[in-house]
Amino acid sequence: MMRTFVPYGAAADEVPAGWGVRRAVRLDFPGPAALAADPVHTERLRVYLTDLLRPYGLALDAAALAGAGHAYGEMAEVLIERAVPTGESVDLLVLAYSVPDIAPGRATTTRLSHVCPGTPMAFAVTDQGAAAPFTALRLIRAYAGRLPRALLLVVEQPSLPYDSGIPVDLPATSSGVALLLGPPTPGTPTTPLGRVTTGPASAAQARTALAKFAGPATGADPLAEPAAPAAVILGSALAAQAPPLPGAPRVRTAAPGRPTTGVWWELAAELSAPPAEPAPLIVADHDPLSGTLSVAAFAAATEEALAAAAAPGRA
């Protein structure tokens, strides 16, 4: 579907009131991709990876290649089916990942645009480690005035059939999280998205930043100055470095085997069983390779958002 845009700046770019996460789905994909069983594909992948590795003096582990690994296109199709309610459409689909999949030359999101209801604009954000989903969220919000119904797909798979020579934390299994974002709709609880930041930070700086969430404060911005005690979701490496957070009623820690999807996996769990007393929610992760600290603030569904859901036309 042809979509046209004019540059950001008009009133049309204002994010709809109460816009945020409407639905979250998380899934493990324990088996390999169907594509992995295709010998023609495997041979094509062997050539691609062999040529990719050669200039770096690296060699392909051909035995690890055969029949292994997952394709983000296949995983995403299942996530789309589970996350997008029947009869609804999506305007923008963004795929975020760190580890390449077994279709490294494929424009997967173009295919996903074809299969996702609404034929959304679609693109991928990569090469930023665990920060990529946070950047994807920032981009989704930057487009939200024009493309309000969005789907963020955060995916990872463990097959890397070569030793890159760089220590890297690979996932234990293939998994994906889908966040359906949009304006509040009647009958659907929506968790508004607050500030999202990504920036360079050492482990020590990350600890200092996290200390901001360690106690109750009074500000309206849960990132700059946490309001009510916040529930906090931390990436596994970050949790190991983090100071105690006595002010947070719940601290969820991502499992070590989910280096990219982990915090989003926990967010999906948090949103599926919201506490009786809603509190601002912080998702934070630290990418050790790039040294990037990423933080996303989600406000608990507020009275205003609920009112907007009841009267969609109101700002």
Binding site: V6, G105, T109, D127, S164
Partner: protein
């Protein structure tokens, strides 16, 4: 309003005749002849010794507009034709940013629009800066890749890839080359190895690319005859002549100068052709121009962007 602040490009000195590339890829002499005589391709730019970082470094060194402004760069986007271009987790783009004093910026790749990803990156960069309400901030869009494997050397029936790079500084509030509109049409139905679908893709290629240009120009509130020049992707001359026929647009106003001498330089073509057009005096103050690309390879994306110089 999203604007391009500065553009620079780098093409390695090495050139290889398309017959040599075709021979390495197992194409017949007749196929190579068709590429030369019909598509008007001649040679492609290649750097046999350098890596991705060397290509991008070449463009960054020429980006005079970056000097002294490094602290203003908030985002660095590498716009990719191929989603995976280095072994994971190697990060030559991140290392290059450190080298150029951009270690504070958020560095990431955007893509899956194949060769149209460069236009996506410009739009995304402008929106990120504007959403931050950051009028002082800049984003750096990097384009260019290595033709490291067969898939990254040949666009079947269409073109050969060449190596090179471009660097483009984007702001959310500039006056120099203001972006007026962007149109993009992802066509995932072409993501198949089916021969009939491949033929259908060839059949609709020119019309769909023309439709993207028409949509962007219309969204900018303009008519085609107000467009001074089109800065194309360098796939071949024939495809663009077909686009011109569909548009009723004079083919001599499409900057096809580099098609025969560089090959299709991934997402960098539009920016390389911008510099060619500027050097030839084809960009006139206030006059709109179009940058357009079709990205093909497991699905296709047709995109166009209108600027006012």
């Amino acid at each position: 309003m999203t604007a391009v602040v500065a553009v620079a490009a780098y093409l390695p000195e090495g050139r290889v005749r398309i017959e040599e590339v075709a021979g390495r890829l197992g194409l017949s002499g007749m196929q190579a002849k068709i590429f030369r005589r019909y598509h008007k391709l001649g040679e492609v730019a290649l750097d046999p010794h350098g890596g991705l970082a060397d290509l991008l470094r070449g463009a960054l060194r020429r980006l005079d507009g970056l000097r002294g402004q490094e602290h203003r760069v908030r985002y660095v986007l590498h716009a990719r034709t191929f989603p995976t271009v280095v072994p994971y987790p190697h990060d030559p783009v991140g290392e290059l940013c450190e080298e150029f004093g951009l270690g504070h910026a958020a560095v990431f790749a955007v893509g899956h629009h194949a060769c149209a990803s460069g236009l996506l990156a410009v739009d995304a960069a402008g929106r990120l800066l504007a959403a931050d309400d950051d009028r002082d901030g800049l984003a750096l869009v990097l384009t260019g890749e290595k033709a490291f494997t067969g898939e990254a050397q040949l666009v079947p029936e269409t073109s050969f890839f060449g190596e090179g790079a471009a660097a483009c500084l984007v702001s959310a509030a500039g006056e120099r080359d203001r972006m007026l509109a962007y149109a993009t049409d992802p066509r995932g139905e072409f993501d198949t190895d089916d021969q009939e679908t491949a033929l259908e893709f060839q059949r609709v290629y020119a019309d769909t690319l023309a439709a993207a240009i028409t949509a962007a120009v219309g969204r900018a509130g303009l008519a085609m005859d107000e467009v001074g020049v089109i800065l194309p992707h360098n796939v071949n001359r024939v495809a663009w002549h077909q686009v011109c026929r569909t548009l009723g647009y004079p083919r001599e106003r499409v900057v096809l100068d580099n098609v025969a001498t560089t090959g299709h330089v991934f997402c960098a073509d539009g920016f390389i052709n911008y510099l060619t057009a500027r050097d030839r005096g084809l960009l006139r103050q206030g006059e709109p121009y179009v940058m357009a690309a079709a990205g093909a390879g497991s699905g296709a994306t047709f995109s166009a962007m209108v600027f006012a110089h």
